[in-house]
């Protein structure tokens, strides 16, 4: 996953993999790995997720993860306008370094903090429409839409595999056929962005 510092990527991932919320989280240094099994179409799929640091200092490291990712979650913080404004930069970066078929989902996180909202839902939707992304608002705290965000991304990837867009025999796509479950795959997914000052929790 690639994203802004403090927008809550790590908390999203933790909520997805461990089903828990941790309000105070260390700043992600570089990249952290997480994984979870899900079932799509009756097939077991292991999602391998790389949670990337959002800070600018780690940007060159983050870039190494675009290639070889099948999907990415691009996360901003609905209570911080600046994180939304940076999306374009991140998107360009991702498109430039990634496989053109990479599925990108736009996530507006912290939807539980309605009172502090700075970015309207409509704005997120408009941005997603304009750039051909799937959009969703989530809350890592209440777990709202977290499952959906990851699973929908996985479904999109799965559909692309079915359509033959992804060549599953080419590992550079970030998809591998699991040995024990026929047709299982693993999608490396990661959205990223950074630049915001450190500190703050998700």
């Amino acid at each position: 996953m690639l994203l802004f510092s403090g927008v809550g990527k790590s908390c999203l991932l933790l909520q997805f993999t461990d089903k828990r919320f941790q309000p105070v989280h260390d700043l992600t240094i570089g990249v952290e790995f997480g994984a979870r099994m899900i079932t799509i179409d009756g097939k077991q799929i292991k999602l391998q997720i790389w949670d990337t640091a959002g800070q600018e200092a780690f940007r060159s490291i983050t870039r190494s993860y675009y290639r070889g990712a099948a999907g990415a979650l691009l996360v901003y913080d609905i209570t911080r306008r600046d994180t939304f404004n940076h999306l374009t930069t991140w998107l360009e970066d991702a498109r430039q370094h990634s496989n053109s078929n990479m599925v990108i989902m736009l996530i507006g996180n912290k939807s539980d903090l309605e009172s502090r909202r700075e970015v309207k839902k409509e704005e997120g939707e408009a941005f997603a429409r304009e750039h051909g992304l799937v959009f969703m608002e989530t809350s890592a705290k209440t777990a709202a839409n977290v499952e959906e965000a990851f699973i929908n991304t996985a479904k999109e990837i799965y559909e692309k595999i079915q359509e033959g867009v992804f060549d599953i025999n080419n590992e550079a796509n970030g998809i591998k056929i699991g040995p024990q479950h026929g047709g299982a795959g693993s999608g490396g997914g990661a959205p990223g962005a950074g630049g915001a000052p450190p500190g703050g929790c998700c």
């Binding site: 990249v31 790995f33 994984a35 060159s60 490291i61 870039r63 290639r67 040995p179």
Partner: protein, 810 residues
Amino acid sequence: MDFLKSGLKTVLGAPETGQQPSVAETVERLVERASNSTLLEDRRDACRALKAMSRKYRLEVGAQGLDTLRQILELDRADNETVNYALDTLNNIVSPSQFEEEEDKPHIPMNIGDQFTEMFIKDPHNIQLVLDLLDEYDFRVRLSAVQLLVSVLTNRTKDIQEIILDKPMGVSKMMDLLADTREVIRNETLLLLIKLTKGNANIQKIVAFENAFDRLFEIVSSEGYSDGGIIVEDCLLLMLNLLKNNSSNINFFKEGSYIQKMLPMFNIPENSEEVGWSSQKVVNVHCMLQLVRTLVSPSNSIQIISSCQKIMKNVGLLDALCNILMASGVPADILTETINTVGEVVRGDATNQEFIGNVIAPSYPPRPAIIVLLMSMVNEKQPFALRCAVLYCFQCYLYHNEISQSNLVQTLLPSSSDVSSLTSGQILCGGLFSSDVLSNWFSAVALKHALIDNLTQKEQALRVLLATNIGSTPVSLLHQCTLLLQQTTKLQSKVALLMLLSTWTAGCPPAVAAFLGAPGGVPLLVHHAGSNEHDDNECLLQGLSAFLLAICIHFNDDSVASYSRDGLRQLLVKRIGVETFVAKLSDVSRHELYNKAAKHPQMRAASPADLLLDYEFCKLFKSLEGPLIESVCQTPGRSSPEPQLEQYKSLIRQQDARLQELVQQLETVTAHAQQLQSALNDSQAANSLLRDENTLLKAQVGSSGTDGTHEHEERIRQLTEEVRRMKEELEGARRSQERSREELDKMRRDQNDLLELLDDQDVKLNEYKMRLINLGQAVDEDNVVEPEDNLSSVNNKIVDGKDYIVTPPL
């Protein structure tokens, strides 16, 4: 040298006869040619010559040619041969090793390669140039570029890592080379990646992300697993780099089902005994074991360790490891490392601990593997490292597992001993009292681990009795240990026994009492703790004795009269002194071996002499040091602790009684308060009920009768007013009536007076008339009346003119 000269001649042309150009001049001309010649061939030749010279004269070539060579990498990229010469030359210049040709040149600084590396990477763009050359498919160029990167990485690991991380796709490019079908390049790339990933978590993660594990396992499997050559070793070393202290990658490794893929590495063929183990195979298997240990290392987080342990058990890896343990013909160092590995795979995981507890060795008679291992531990003919490994494995087997701890102690208790078979307890007791010092140490530490944090077993172990000589009365294990402590002259045995006794007595007053009851124990401790020798290891012995003594004070329940808590404290204060005592304790934690042992659960003793302290003991020491010092120092008035104590005791008793009283009072008051509270609650409820009713009624009254009442009230007021007015009128009427009556009475009286007067007048009148008549005067009737007028005027005067008094005509 001749060859070199002739080579130079062809490049530079024949030198002027009689004048041999100096090396510096030659290099200068070559560098100039390489940078300025317009013909590619000339530049290429110059580079070739520079390369030839660069091994012997790297100082000169490097000093003058570095920039030019860099420039060639950029400008002559199209010509593979030239670029290749330039890369090789650079590689020679920065090479971290000394060349044979240089051996006779003592003036060349040892770190010359390092210095040139620093110059080369001053501009990070130079590294980019080399990275770009990795894209070149030409074999020589690609290989030389990889080798150059290996050299600079060796010299300046950290700097180069940062530069490469900063280059987009830098790491990914190197990973692509692993897929190169030319083995030489693939193998060099492995070396490059090993250097690149050393100690840099970010690079490690990117390499893992780029499917390193898949590719490495492919290579390992294609090379024949443990029977493969040095390439297998390189692959394993790279994996070790990726996983060591990198929890994210360990997670990835675990989630990516790579643990299963390790399994074939541990397959030991049936005929391995005849075939034997090649030295490369030993190294490969050793690396694999390291790989397993990296995943379950006690320094990882608990979650990672426990999930890896479960997977290892489930996929049969633990099984495979146990097979190696039991196989014959396994080299000793592999066996040793396997024992260590098995230890860490079971450490703290009850299922796995139970599993190895049940493994049966294929010996005759069949014995549990644990027994066989312990037998090796107390066998002085076994290699030292192997014995250490067995101890570590046994510790891991007991670690945080009350069942295995209790099983061990059970084997020592009289009731359960099965005479026919050898038990682990018997082996350890045998080791404890054997003449081999190391066996003493190993056995004491092993026993100690059955008692750690387990009060039940500490108490159970007190029941253990030993029959030392046939016919003599059995002695308890604790007494025997105390006795041994007095008898032995070996430092290692003493230290081991002190650790055992400290662990045993810590937190367990019955064990303290048993120790204090053993003859000679306390005097020995006091003797050691008070001794003043300054040898390093003596200090340790003194410190440990002081430690045990302090435990006996701290956990003393005063059940041994001769060594009560205060008695012992006084003894310590008098014989040793508090300050000396504190100093002795801190000597222990300052000891070199203490710090070494406290670092890792596995002891890393290089030689038998280094075996003194163990990890768990250091933990115990660290946790108790503070409380013990406090406990020993807590009574400042040392000279007369008894009376003071009595005083305090009576004070406490008084306070206790007072407390009791107050508690009772409090209870009564509380009960009362409760009653009041409930009464108040009732009242409040009733009150509010009434208030409600009242409000209700008021509302009713207000709605139905307000107007009528007012009317009535108004009417009543009016009537009252009227009544009052009537009364007043009545009063007035009465008064005027009274007055009238009085007036009337007066009038009547006046009238009567007047009537009388009138009669008199009449009489007089008649008299006068008579007289007149008599006198002869005719008296007219009218004349007669005349005097009447006079009379009326008189009347008027009397009655004051009242009109109703009318003089009647006569």
